[in-house]
């Protein structure tokens, strides 16, 4: 439990453009992951485990799937009389000039009344582009202890070209004080990448939002943090342990496949810190006489009578007799017909792969099949 009252703000659409195909019909927050989750589940669950029950989700576009997923917030125990889950679609009025906002600062200005109305001492802000069992309690406590103005949660990541299109590299000294920020560039040995999770006092956030609005600043890192790097005391909190960042299809594929490792599952789903998600009430998985499944993760509702290898199957997937599925991510209700062969394929929800069809991508370039497609 966090020792001081903290509110949370989640930016649902901030990195949609990193995975344009996967987010064509949804927000980054509602991107399906790990067989039965959406990316936002990892954040919401971590807030609830830290005792944070005032959670605002700021959405911008394509948010129907997210609204459907969140409902009243009940599944995360966030359907509360006092506080609980609130969602903030773009708000437009003649004098505020908000509308569909630009950047994080515009989004925050759009909900300034919500922030002002809270009695929380601290605010934790987060985007939905990382998968981890976030230790929200530690982030907040370490921020309080550091005495910093703003804390940034950071992690080490292996470099990949696409990572550089949308990242912030953080340099800090041995006390954790941030000395410099590099936008969209590669970290050197001592640097770490920002996980786009920030902790600060609510009163400071309010003044930053007002100041940014009057200067027409839209970007938090560039216009607020970098501009004031010598004036603000910025602190880097390292997230150790399992973390994956989703910044293109390949990283999504790799992060999904990492769940086949027992260490990753133990880190992401430890006992006592469950990841909550919307329940679908599927029956358990049924394995038929011809099922041959190895090294795979399967969610409830699947019916398997074919061969499945090194794959992640979401709820309600059917693999018919004689079908072969290797190195695949099959989202909810995908149907693989008999005799079909799929290797390195990501199927979106409700895809049907017909009899004897053959689909092959490569580990370095998995192919993606759009929602509702019939192959």
């Amino acid at each position: 439990m966090v020792s001081r009252k903290t509110m949370a703000l989640v930016f649902a659409n901030m990195h949609d453009r990193s995975v344009p195909e996967l987010t064509e019909i949804r927000s980054m927050a509602s991107l399906p992951f790990g067989g039965r989750y959406r990316l936002i589940d990892f954040l919401l669950s971590s807030f609830v485990h830290a005792g944070i029950t005032d959670v605002g989700v700021i959405v911008k576009s394509n948010y129907h799937s997210l609204m459907d997923h969140l409902g009243t917030g009940r599944e995360w125990d966030l359907a509360r009389k006092i506080e609980g889950l609130s969602t903030f679609p773009p708000f437009s009025s003649e004098d505020s000039n908000a509308g569909v906002y630009h950047g994080r600062m515009g989004a925050l200005f759009g909900i300034i009344n919500h922030i002002r109305g809270s009695n929380a001492k601290y605010v934790i802000m987060a985007d939905c582009d990382h998968v981890a069992n976030f230790d929200t309690e530690r982030y907040v406590e370490e921020h309080i202890k550091s005495g910093a103005d703003i804390s940034m949660v950071c992690c080490k990541l292996p470099w990949a070209e696409d990572l550089g299109r949308n990242c912030v590299c953080v340099s800090s000294d041995e006390t954790g004080r941030v000395t410099d920020l590099f936008i969209n560039s590669r970290c050197d040995e001592g640097g770490a990448y920002s996980m786009n999770i920030f902790v600060l006092e609510r009163s400071l956030l309010e003044s930053i939002i007002e100041n940014a609005h009057s200067h027409m600043y839209s970007n938090f890192e560039r216009d607020v943090l970098l501009r004031n790097i010598s004036r603000l005391n910025l602190h880097c909190i390292m997230h150790d342990g399992y973390v994956r960042r989703i910044y293109n299809n390949k990283s999504y594929f790799d992060a999904s496949m990492s769940l086949l490792e027992p260490e990753a599952r133990a880190a992401l789903f430890p006992k006592g810190k469950a990841i909550y998600t919307k329940v679908r009430d599927n029956a358990p998985v049924k394995y038929g006489l011809n099922a041959e499944v190895t090294n795979s993760l399967l969610a409830d509702g699947c019916i398997i009578d074919g061969k499945v290898e090194n794959s992640v199957l979401f709820r309600g997937v059917t693999v018919e007799k004689g079908a072969v599925v290797k190195n695949c991510i099959l989202m909810q209700d995908t149907h693989i017909s008999s005799g079909a062969f799929c290797d390195c394929v990501i199927t979106d929800k409700q895809v049907v792969v017909g009899e004897n069809r053959e689909l092959s991508g490569h580990i370095s370039y998995p192919i993606y099949i759009k929602k509702f497609s019939k192959v």
Binding site: G34, D281, N282, V285, K286, T294, S296, D300
Partner: protein
């Protein structure tokens, strides 16, 4: 005002399930991996449009109460109606445990009166089936009968194990026989009754005043209504229905889920069976594991061999462990090299490395002594220990020990 209020009798001890109902009521016994027996009547209610359900509990209610909670998993958290746990309570005139099925309803007349229903549907928490009660209620309303009883055709030779309804061709019941030696028909009562509430209230009150009555629906109330010439109708049900009152029938009902010849489809999205969710990740099947003809639930990890078995949420089947024709209930652990055959391993039990539980009937020397082995919840079967077929393990088994 509700058209129909359902009353679910969930107070039975389930004594013939022995170790499985040591600490929990029978309706809370796990079935089919992720379900508990009570999920079936509750889901049938909501799928049939019945949103007011009283659950009568008496024996070991704690786990059942917590499981039902506010009724949310079954969509039974309602402003008006919803699911209510009805335990025996103290009244000005004194207090009593529920003395029989009819007495349990009698003691809750005031609960039913709050909704002024036309009909009351009586259900029990011992059966696995999917049934649209609204069809039965419609038949009951159309015929304008005092009571309608769901019946199932059973094989003639088994009929003497059931309560048998003797009916005219139009379905009207003229006689009820409890476990008759020479059954006249093969229509067995499923323990599902729709009563006209006005009539039922009168009969319950009379029955309660009768000191000779055992206060049971099948034994007292139904015969009294028949004797009084009340119009009573049988309603035929021809789907899958299984009483899970014994170890063997519970084991069989679980195995029916994987038998392609049994018409019982839990994957049908039009009649979902709801249950309280365990918030566990998808299950994992490792490289080198083999899984066939089985049911596996979320949160489980399989490194060994699983065949013809039901694996509940959060179960671990370790490397080289061999699980066949068995039911592993939530959270149990089968350690490396252990063998589990024709067994029911209850919640959170641990079968240590190299232990052997149960046996195939073919391998059993004395066929007469063969049966499903049962290990009670939370117990530990030690390393290399052996639990023989039909054994009932209530407490920890030491390393290397043999239990008959």
């Amino acid at each position: 005002m509700k058209d129909t209020v359902a009353m679910l009798l969930a107070g039975g001890q389930g004594s013939r399930l022995y170790a499985l109902t040591q600490n929990i009521a029978k309706p809370a016994v796990p079935y089919g991996g992720k379900y508990r027996i009570i999920d079936f009547p509750l889901s049938n209610c909501i799928n049939s449009g019945i949103d007011t359900v009283g659950v009568l509990t008496q024996y070991q209610p704690l786990e059942l109460n917590e499981y039902i909670g506010d009724g949310r998993p079954w969509d039974l958290d309602r402003l008006s109606g919803g699911v209510h746990i009805l335990s025996p309570y103290q009244k000005q005139s004194g207090s009593d445990w529920y003395l029989g099925t009819a007495n349990a309803i009698f003691q809750n007349i005031s609960f039913i009166e709050r909704y002024s229903p036309k009909n009351v549907l009586i259900l029990s928490g011992d059966h696995i089936y999917k049934m649209d009660y609204s069809e039965m209620i419609a038949a009951h309303n159309k015929a304008g009968t005092a009571c309608t009883i769901a019946v199932l055709e059973v094989p003639k030779e088994e009929a003497s194990r059931f309560g048998i309804m003797n009916t005219y061709p139009d379905g009207t019941i003229y006689e009820f026989e409890e476990k008759p030696k020479e059954p006249k028909s093969n229509l067995a009562s499923m323990g599902i009754y729709v009563f006209d509430w006005e009539k039922l209230r009168r009969y319950l009150t009379e029955d309660n005043a009768n000191p000779a009555s055992s206060k049971d629906f099948g034994h007292d109330v139904i015969p009294a209504m028949l004797a009084n010439g009340e119009k009573m109708l049988s309603f035929r049900f021809d789907g899958y229905w299984k009483d899970v009152g014994t170890i063997d029938s519970l084991w069989e009902a679980n195995m029916d889920m994987i038998d392609p010849n049994v018409p019982f489809d839990l994957w049908d999205l039009d009649w979902k069976i709801y249950s309280r969710n365990s918030a566990l990740p998808p299950h994992y099947i490792s490289a080198g594991a083999t899984v066939q003809n089985s049911i596996i639930c979320e949160g489980s990890e399989v490194y060994g061999n699983v065949d013809f078995s039901i694996i509940s949420p959060g179960v671990t089947v370790s490397d080289r462990a061999d699980v066949r024709d068995s039911i592993l209930m939530p959270g149990c652990v089968i350690e490396a090299g252990a063998s589990v055959q024709y067994s029911i391993i209850a919640e959170k039990a641990v079968i240590k490395a190299g232990a052997k539980v149960g046996e195939r009937p073919e391998n059993c020397e004395n066929k007469g002594s063969w049966g499903v082995a049962v290990v009670a919840g939370g117990t530990v079967v030690g390393k290399g220990a052996e639990v023989k077929p039909k054994a009932m393990v209530y407490s920890d088994v030491k390393d290397g020990e043999v239990v008959w």
